[in-house]
């Protein structure tokens, strides 16, 4: 999940909610089902039709990438950028909008991998004719090498699935000291075999992660590899001035015939970083000159929404795909008052989720969450709620549960939020006041938010936190958020509720070991409901990611696998001659 991007993407404010109300009301009578609330193009549509080959695509960004090194890249939109443009992985997601985008297809590998030994051993065969940017062949041992790199302490921060799944990986600290993992075998240049600790049914999905892309040992530069990953994808890095500008040019040795996913339409991709968010919006709205061939990297600012929605011409350039993440109110279960499950259940009814929607940008950019698992992990539709009732909360039921818990007079409690979420905390304060809960709000700067709520000894009673699955499997969600064994004294993330429950942990281990992915998905779903009954957190919102493109952009859609960021595999220009530079 993209923790940092969440911290930086300041929550949408009420001004946006008002803007959206104003913009949407004329269409109130036009009943087109749920899409009426869609702020931009409908989910599943592509902006601008099919692109033409050539030209320069510009990406305007307010920030630098956290890490482009494939061993360290674990921020959702950056994973999209890295794996779609610079490096290929064993498998990847289909380049398609909507639900089809969640399907896994072979990338470097010839198929989705063959499992044996009840899902403990996975074998992948590489396609022939795969080459790096210098024309040298991509070999299976290069993938093994990058997986090994992800264990090195100096290359920390990347996805940790290799550490979780590979057999005999305890205490391994990477290949730089000359040691290698026995659990990855490469009998020849085109075969790679992974031996896992236990069965992993969806390992085909795991290898979509950038950890499973090739890095030749001869190109090892340790920490500095981050500055210039060696390309196995359609583009190579021409220049990269950190925080300023990244320029990608074509990789002449990338062969489209081996790559069913990436179309690589533009000749060059230029990422301009460190710009001011509101100015990026204004530039792309105007779409003058080179900005017509530009897309924005981070969310449209709340203040810019009013400039987009009322104008159909601009509105049709707005993508607002579901992020696939769940935003929730974590209740600190480690001490009073929320060590009492009854009290936590009362919270499920006391919270006014509708007010959260309003405070976070309105119904156009948020759906009410009815479960921890986002719809993308529960068959595409929202799960039926365990705690039923109106979206505004059920005051009577909450009061009853409070009385049963011996807190009929309410109680005092605290929440810590980042400055951008203050409006939401106030909405929460109002809804809890209805049942006599007196909430004290503490706001902290976004840059220290996760350090503050991750300090378990001093953690607040409540915090707003979220999680995004790494690929469409609940195994990348529930164990990160509700497994008590992952709690750390400091820098605690994921399990912000500090929820410890032996039965739940046992069940997680059992489901993780299921060889059948479909049965596992069902079981995760049931476990989600089980955890909801224990109520370590209140599911609040399923958000959308609003992103705008210039009017010369074609093939743009928010990809569901990367929190609604554009799929860079197939984005391009309508008229390449209009792009400058």
């Amino acid at each position: 999940m993209s923790r940092r991007s969440r911290a930086l993407s300041v929550s949408l404010s009420t001004s946006l909610a008002l803007a959206l109300l104003g913009a949407c009301s004329p269409q109130g009578g036009d009943d087109r089902g749920p899409d009426v609330r869609q702020p931009g193009v409908a989910t599943g549509t592509v902006i601008g039709g099919t692109p033409k080959r050539g030209g320069t695509l510009t990406v305007l960004s307010n920030q630098d990438f956290a890490h482009l090194d494939p061993a360290r890249n674990w921020v959702m939109p950056t994973m999209d950028f890295g794996t779609r443009l610079i490096y290929r992985t064993l498998t990847t997601f289909r380049a398609a909008p909507g639900k089809r985008g969640s399907e896994i297809v072979p990338d470097l590998a010839t198929d989705l991998g063959r499992s044996s030994d009840g899902g403990r051993t996975w074998t992948f065969t590489l396609k022939s004719g795969l080459r790096y940017e210098d024309g040298t062949p991509i070999r299976a041992r290069d993938i093994k090498y990058n997986v090994e790199r992800s264990f090195a302490p100096d290359l920390a921060g990347g996805p940790d699935y290799a550490q979780r799944y590979l057999a005999g990986a305890e205490g391994y600290t990477g290949p730089l000291d000359g040691k290698h993992l026995d659990s990855i075998r490469t009998p020849d240049d085109r075969t790679i075999v992974f031996s896992l600790r236990g069965p992993v049914a969806e390992f085909s999905s795991t290898v979509t992660l950038p950890t499973f892309s090739p890095v030749p040992a001869s190109r090892e530069k340790g920490v500095q590899y981050d500055l210039r990953p060696f390309s196995s994808g359609p583009y190579r890095i021409e220049s990269y001035a950190r925080g300023k500008k990244l320029v990608l040019g074509r990789n002449p040795h990338w062969d489209a015939a081996t790559d069913p996913v990436r179309k690589a339409y533009p000749d060059r991709i230029v990422v301009i970083q460190g710009l001011k968010g509101g100015q990026i919006d204004d530039r792309i709205i105007e779409s003058a000159g080179a900005d017509a061939s530009a897309v924005e990297w981070s969310d449209l600012q709340p203040s810019s929404v009013a400039k987009v929605l009322p104008k159909p011409g601009i509105r049709q350039r707005l993508s607002a795909e579901r992020t696939g993440c769940t935003d929730m109110l974590a209740l600190n279960t480690s001490r009073a008052p929320f060590d009492d499950p009854k009290l936590r259940r009362a919270m499920q009814y006391a919270v006014d989720k509708q007010a959260q929607v309003t405070a976070n940008g309105g119904p156009a950019l948020n759906d009410i969450a009815t479960a921890y698992l986002p719809p993308s992990l529960t068959g595409g539709r929202a799960a039926d709620p365990v705690h039923t009732g109106p979206a505004t909360g059920d005051v009577k039921k909450a009061e009853k549960l409070l009385a049963e818990a011996g807190r009929g007079d309410g109680f005092d409690t605290t929440i810590t939020v980042s400055t951008g979420d203050k409006t939401r905390a106030e909405a929460l304060q109002q809804s809890l006041a209805r049942v006599g809960i007196r909430l004290r709000i503490e706001t902290v700067d976004p840059s220290v938010y996760y350090d503050t709520i991750g300090d378990t000894a001093n953690a607040p009673d409540m915090a707003i936190s979220g999680w995004c699955p790494d690929y469409p499997s609940a195994a990348t969600f529930l164990p990160f958020v509700f497994d008590g064994r992952t709690i750390k004294a400091k820098g605690n993330q994921g399990n912000v509720s500090q929820f410890r429950d032996k039965a739940v942990e046992r069940r997680m281990d059992e489901i993780a070991a299921m060889p059948d992915a479909t049965a596992a998905a069902k079981a995760w779903n049931a476990l989600d409901r089980e955890i909801q009954r224990k109520s370590p957190a209140v599911p609040l919102l399923w958000e959308r990611k609003p992103l705008l493109v210039g009017d010369n952009i074609a093939g743009a859609f928010g990809h569901p696998s990367w929190t609604g960021q554009f799929d860079f595999a197939v984005i391009g220009l309508k008229d390449p001659s209009r792009s400058q530079g």
């Binding site: 302490p153 950190r242 710009l275």
Partner: protein, 328 residues
């Protein structure tokens, strides 16, 4: 003069060392852990310990500080064996977030901040001194009062207001100027100036107002001195009296101010750079704060301290040249 110079330079070194020690201690005491930030979201305690060791954060603070100081003069190697990272002279630490030595990052951004600072300085000197001297020579007149009311009004506008208004008026509304995007002077001098014009004006307006008031009062004071009357009585042309005798002496306090302001600006104008999206030292500092990239924050702090202290020394030396009494 030599002895004076040596004394001053030793003083500067002392001040910088003190600033370095204080900043280092503050970071050591802060709750944010750079190792945890680097380690990522599912970092186990064992792995965190490995990362801390790799980054040298498991050493006692005095040891870390000692290594840091040695690195500044001799460069150093961070980590050991196959993990080692070379950080050459002058090593101001290593940014693990950016995978670059702090010095390289600073040198990459410095030309941007220097472009911004010097361009703005030229503008505000011309505007500020022009307005100040004109007002002083027409003391009490309509022009004087208009200029000074204008100066007070401009000085009271914060840069984030003028910057946003300028952007709105000159870029969004009329399209006269492009959205600022830094272009290096060596790449395209015209685009360099066109892109920096707005930030220059935004910064210069603020400073020009202060300089107008400062130079006006200083000029008025000087022009009332007996030697000016003498010069006039000698029958010198008015221009010579004003420029050679009046202005030159009136500028001393203004120059003091100028040195300090320029020094502070050279190490980055955080707000201006952020609003206009200019990748200077100020923006680097802002981003480093966001990412708990402490080596960079420390590096920028030291650079800023260096520029301000250095500007002071230069001014003092200029005094010494003008006034021999200072040397003793």
């Amino acid at each position: 003069m030599i002895a004076y110079l040596i004394r001053r330079i030793l003083g500067v070194a002392g001040v910088l060392l003190a600033i370095c020690a204080v900043t280092f201690t503050i970071f050591y005491l802060l709750p944010a852990d750079p190792a945890a930030a680097a380690c990522g979201k599912t970092c186990s305690p064992e792995r965190l310990a490995e990362v801390r060791h790799f980054m040298g954060l498991d050493q006692p603070v005095w040891r870390q500080f000692g290594d840091y100081l040695v690195g500044i003069f001799a460069g150093r190697e961070l980590g050991s064996g196959p993990h080692a990272i070379q950080c050459g002279f002058p090593c101001l630490g290593y940014s693990y977030e950016n995978a670059l030595p702090v010095w390289d990052l600073l040198m990459d951004r410095l030309p941007v901040s220097v472009s911004l600072a010097f361009g703005a300085a030229c503008l505000w000197l011309v505007l500020g001194l022009g307005a100040g001297v004109t007002a002083a020579l027409r003391k009490g007149g309509l022009l004087d009062r208009t200029l000074m009311v204008g100066a007070v009004a401009t000085a009271s506008l914060p840069v984030y207001f003028t910057a946003v208004m300028l952007l709105y008026g000159l870029v969004r509304l009329t399209g006269l100027l492009p959205y600022p995007a830094y272009v290096a002077l060596t790449d395209d001098p015209f685009a360099w100036a066109a892109n920096l014009l707005l930030p220059w004006v935004a910064l210069a307006l603020l400073y020009a107002a202060m300089y107008a008031r400062q130079s006006r009062s200083s000029m008025i004071e000087t022009m009332e001195q007996p030697y000016i009357r003498t010069a006039r009585a000698k029958g010198l042309p008015a221009r010579t009296v004003v420029v050679k005798h009046g202005l030159r002496s009136a500028m001393t306090p203004v120059l003091t101010l100028f040195g300090m302001d320029l020094g502070a600006l050279l190490a980055g104008a955080v707000i201006t750079e952020s609003i206009f999206g200019i990748p200077g030292v100020g923006r680097l500092f802002y981003d480093a704060l966001q990412r708990s990239d402490q080596p960079v924050v420390l590096g920028v702090t030291l650079l800023a301290a260096f520029f301000i202290v250095a500007a002071n020394v230069v001014i003092d030396l200029l005094y010494a040249v003008v006034d021999p009494r200072v040397r003793n």
